[in-house]
Structure formats: structure tokens, C-alpha cells
Symmetry: C2
Subunit: 368 residues, 2 copies
């Protein structure tokens, strides 16, 4: 009899309407017990992409076969550029041509794009079917798979069309991080780093001490980073599922970051890369607004560089940046709202004078 | 000083997450007080169609101007055939090009198609903005605008993509029914009639006594029909918003009816016409299953005919009917579920042997 695998660590998420667990551990996809106790159904559909499906879909399919009579797999094209209505419609076409009913359970196997699209498909199909997140990238494990934000992009803005719709469970199999491309690992570290300045100064210091271990994929370091990130995210989402207040702090770096992604065209930079650069801009803004001491910007820049992340924005032009940020979901009546750091471990949402924002953009973007 | 208008009648809807009022009365669109107390916002968008907008959008726009600084109007093409993603995207394009933020309030001015699409657009835009239903057809006033079901059609099935998303208010201006084409008035009567057999035997008798008054648009008769219908719908939705049980009875006639609509192509028959024919089929099924005495079918047929509604289904072929009904949202694991009448005023959801369904279809559809 083989030695039982180490028990997974569990983080619980509680919102007004939903309660579910995030399981974190090695080898969880292959474990039949990871999938017990889900809503009973005859059919399960694994939604994945052309990169991840060949690696993990066969293992997941076999594990799910213990609980579902009929398990099928749908591969979507890979990449942020495909986070569109057309891809979403591939899921609907598949479900409808298979006569899938309201009890069908969807499994999102992949990164943030697969998770966002599968979650939104589950939210809309027959006005809602259950779904489970099986994130296979660091970014999805620490951020996008937790908290029930689902969406697709619109040519005029990222994540503009979507729903708040909670998964029934999140399974973070740490083994999947071993096959992740270097660039994607770094992109995930951007969201890990984010949790430090907005919520936990001690975690920021821990990341500084362990960034090399994380980049070399040390299992213990990754396990702690995923768990602490999920704990912070669950704590925020539990207080403000619908982003009427506190939850907005999770968008630290995202106002600038979304502008970078939309301005370059989705898929040029990874989301985490754009967020990294955006966090440095937002840190600089916090200093220029007199909220943080000057060394904070250098500290962030050093850490982001050590994590293998970009710290200089693309040369879109200042006006284009401002235009793109005005359609951000946090904007109110055309006024851009930024997440700023007020103290290490504490963030707030506020507007800023255009000229200060322009100073930040001029300092932190490449010259055309 | 003009005589104040008669106070509107109010029906309240309470679900787990939402509480809102349905106001029913004459001249409500023009009354500024109909629109007070909604979520505060700078922007309002009236979504309507090319038929209704010329009649009522200017009046609504003027009334809303007392509460919103910027009120715009978007006209969608008219008809069930346009209840598609492409039409929905016109709403998103409009909102995004106007830089509309999360506080924007949408107003659905029109029939069921406008209401379903505007509601779904509100549910998805930036993951949810407030919306108000302003139904201008009898069908929308008594049924589709109440209860928070929103959706678009998919080529493979009606209302397959959508959300449960409650409006902040429903304003039923009875005056709009005076401009309604005869055929649409009858289609609305189908949903009024529905409430009798499923929930209120006395209301069924009242409709039989007043069907001529309703067709000649007697204001008192219309007012009572709308109010009682909304009361019954609010009572059902208040107990089961997400259609996990009781709410399914509201789909009496809809399993057959959706097959008629999908089989002919959306827009050939009006939704209410298909439901009328479907109700007669479901009544016949209830009799053949031994649940109701035989005269019930004739009683329903007589009433539907007097209401100006079709009672013979199109010649799609029995197999095609069965195929189309298998993708109905109530189906479970490919087994079709029907709403049947167990006693006057009481309905249930159950399956039926294929051969009995075939008998019904052969008796109640035209010969090819």
C-alpha cells in the first residue's frame, strides 16, 4: 500500500450566498477524494485549453469517472486574446449539442482565462450550473480562481462582461506549477507580491526572503505562497463579494495594468506582467501623493525585478493611457480611481490629479 | 391644478436577495414620482426597440430627466428573432462607448424581448448594474418583467443563455396596452389565462367572464388582470426564485410552446401564441394521464379560442417535437419534464410516457 499523500491544506471561503473550500496540495487532481461531495450529476464537462488539456485532462477525466457517468473534455484556444464571446459560445454549443442539463458540472482546468470563461459559461448556461475551479497556473491558484469573479473581454475593455458566480470548490494541485513556463511563473508571482503591500507587511518580507526559492519552484515555498495568498483573498472576498468597497484593493496595479493590456492588445503582455508594471506605477503614485515614503517604490521595483517581471510600461502615449483608464470598472462618472498604498499592508481607493498621474506615466513608461 | 392621477396599485416581490415593487396604473410613465427613490446615478440608458421607442421613449426620457443628468435611448431591432448575442452587444457597445460606469441604471422599455435582453445586459455589464422594467405589452406586464429571469436565445434553444437578476422596480403603465396590436394583446392573454389552472381556479372563472372586456381593452378589466397575475407570479417567485421547485409551474404550456417556437424559427409565432397552443397540449396530457377530467381540455380550448389564440400546433412532425423538447431547461438526463394540472389551481412537474406525448401531438398538431 503506497504511503498516503500529505493531507491538503484547506482555506474556506464564505460569502453571503456560498461557502466552499480551496484545497491546496500535491497530486490533488489524480486523487478521487478531491472530487467527492460535489453536486450529484450524470455529466461533467472539463473545459481546458490546447496547452493544458494534453498535460492534465486525461488524469482529471479518470479521477472524475469515479463520480460522473459521462465526462467529456472541451479544448479552447489558449490565450487572453481568446477570452471572447466566440470562445464562450464554443462551451454553449458543446453543452447544447450534448443535451447537457441544468445539473451538469463544469470543471475549469487551466489558468485565469479558462477559469474566467468557464465560470461565466456556468453562470449563464440555463441561468446557472455548478462549476469547480482547477487552476493550473500560479496566477490562477493565488488569485483568479478564488472569489467568483468571472468574465470575458470586450474590444473596448478587459473583463467588461461577466458575473459574480462562486465555484463549488477550488482544487490547487501544486504539481501543475512544475510544468509552468518561466514567464508564467513570474506573472503569477506578481499577484502573490500584490497581497503584501495591500494586506500583510510580514508576507511582503517573507516573499523578499523566498523569491529565489519560489522561482526555482521549491514545493514548500510555493505551498506557503499559495496558501497565504488564498487566505488573504478569502478574507477580503468574505467581507465584500460584490466589490462595493474593500474588495477593490485587490485591484492594486490593475488600473494601470488593464490599460497596458488593452493598449497593446490582449495577449501581448501576460496579465501578471501588466499588473507588475501597474503596481510599480501605483506605488510611485502613492509616494507622489505623499502617502508612502520614497524608498517604498525602490523596494517594490527591486522585488518585481527579482521576480522576473517588467517594471517599465510600453510607450502607448500618456493620453492613450488616460483614455484607457477612464473605462476601468472602478471609474465613477469618468473619474479614474486608483488603488494606492497608505501604509505597508493597507490600501485605499481614491482619485488623483491628472498631472500627478502624468508624472508617474512619464517616469515609468518607455520613450516612444 | 389638475386632478391627481389615481394612485397606482402596488404588488411587492421579495426574494432572498432582493425586494422591489411592481406599480400598476394609468399614465405612470409620464409621472416623475414613478422614478423617484431609484439608485442614484448620473446616467440612465433607456433600451427599447424600433416599434416602442417612437411611442414612449420621449415621455420616459422627460420623466427621467428629473432624476438623471444624462438620459440616452438605444433602439434595438424589434422581435424575438433579435433576442441574440448580437443585439446584446449593441447595448454593451453603447455603454462602453459612452464610458458608462457601474452606477448607470438601465430601463427596459418594451415587451418581453426588450426586458429579457436589457435585464441580461444589466446582469453582465461590469458584472452587474441596476435596471428597471417598463413593460409595454400585456405579456411583459403579467409575466416576463416580474421575477428576474433574463436571457437571450441560442440557435439550439430558447432562453438558454441568461441569468437570474432582479429589477429594482417594475412600472406597468396600463395606457400602453391601448396601442398594442390585437395579436399581441391576445398573446398576453395566454399568460394571464395560465395563472388560472396552475394557481387560482377563481381567477380562471373571472377570466372566462371578462375575456371580451379584456379584448376590448376595458381599463378596469385590464387593471385587475395585470394585478392578479403579478400577485400570483410574485407569490411563486418569492418562494422559489431560482426555479429549484415550485417556480417551474409557471412554465405550464412552455415545454410544448418552446418546441413550437424553436421548430418554426423564433418570431414566426408570438411567444404567447406558442404557449397557448402548448397549454392546450399540456391540458390534454393532464387528462390522458388521468389527472384531470375530460371536460377540462374543452374548457381550455374554448377560452383560448375566445381570447383569439391558436389551438392547433404547426406540423413539425412528432419526432422533431420530441427532439426539441429534450433540450428544454426542465429536462433531466434527456427525460422531458412537463408541467401538468392535477386539480384546478394546482400544477406539478413530471415526466410522461413517450407514447402518451405522441398521442397528444398527433391530436393537437396540424397534418403536414
Amino acid at each position: 500500500m503506497p504511503l498516503p499523500a500529505q493531507s491538503p491544506r484547506t482555506v474556506s471561503v464564505s460569502t453571503t450566498d456560498a461557502q466552499y473550500d480551496i484545497l491546496i496540495g500535491s497530486g490533488l487532481i489524480a486523487e478521487a477524494s478531491s472530487w467527492s461531495g460535489l453536486p450529484s450529476a450524470a455529466c461533467a464537462l472539463i473545459v481546458s485549453n490546447t496547452t493544458v488539456a494534453p498535460l492534465y485532462a486525461p488524469v482529471l477525466r479518470e479521477a472524475l469517472a469515479a463520480h460522473f457517468a459521462d465526462v467529456s473534455v472541451l479544448e479552447l484556444p489558449d490565450g487572453e486574446a481568446y477570452k471572447t464571446w466566440d470562445s464562450l459560445n464554443l462551451v454553449f454549443d458543446h453543452l447544447l449539442s450534448a443535451h447537457s442539463d441544468r445539473r451538469t458540472v463544469l470543471f475549469a482546468l487551466g489558468g485565469g482565462v479558462v477559469g474566467d470563461m468557464t465560470g461565466f459559461a456556468a453562470a449563464c448556461y440555463m441561468r446557472g450550473v455548478p462549476f469547480v475551479q482547477v487552476p493550473t497556473t500560479l496566477l490562477a491558484q493565488v488569485d483568479s480562481s478564488v472569489g467568483g469573479k468571472t468574465a470575458i473581454n470586450h474590444p473596448r475593455g478587459k473583463n467588461m462582461i461577466g458575473a459574480f458566480y462562486q465555484p463549488r470548490r477550488v482544487i490547487c494541485d501544486l504539481d501543475t506549477l512544475q510544468t509552468l513556463p518561466e514567464r508564467e511563473l513570474s506573472a503569477g508571482l506578481a499577484e502573490v507580491i500584490k497581497y503584501g503591500p495591500i494586506a500583510d507587511a510580514a508576507f511582503l518580507a517573507w516573499i523578499e526572503d523566498h523569491v529565489d526559492a519560489l522561482r526555482s519552484r521549491d514545493p514548500d515555498a510555493l505551498s506557503h505562497a499559495v496558501q497565504r495568498s488564498c487566505e488573504i483573498k478569502a478574507w477580503v472576498v468574505g467581507q465584500d463579494e460584490r466589490e462595493t468597497g474593500l474588495r477593490a484593493i485587490l485591484n492594486f496595479g490593475h488600473t494601470f495594468g488593464h490599460a497596458i493590456e488593452a493598449g497593446l492588445g490582449y495577449g501581448q503582455w501576460l496579465h501578471g506582467e501588466a499588473v507588475a508594471c501597474g503596481m510599480l506605477m501605483a506605488s510611485d503614485l502613492s509616494v507622489r501623493l505623499g502617502l508612502m515614503p520614497e524608498p517604498f517604490v525602490d523596494r517594490m521595483e527591486t522585488l518585481l525585478r527579482r521576480a522576473g517581471l517588467p517594471t517599465t510600461g510600453p510607450a502607448l502615449g500618456t493620453e492613450r493611457y488616460l483614455d484607457l483608464m477612464r473605462v476601468d470598472k472602478k471609474a465613477v462618472a469618468g473619474e479614474i480611481r486608483f488603488v494606492v498604498i497608505e501604509a505597508l499592508g493597507r490600501a485605499a481607493v481614491r482619485s488623483a490629479p491628472d498631472d500627478v498621474v502624468v508624472e508617474v506615466l512619464e517616469r515609468r513608461t518607455a520613450v516612444a
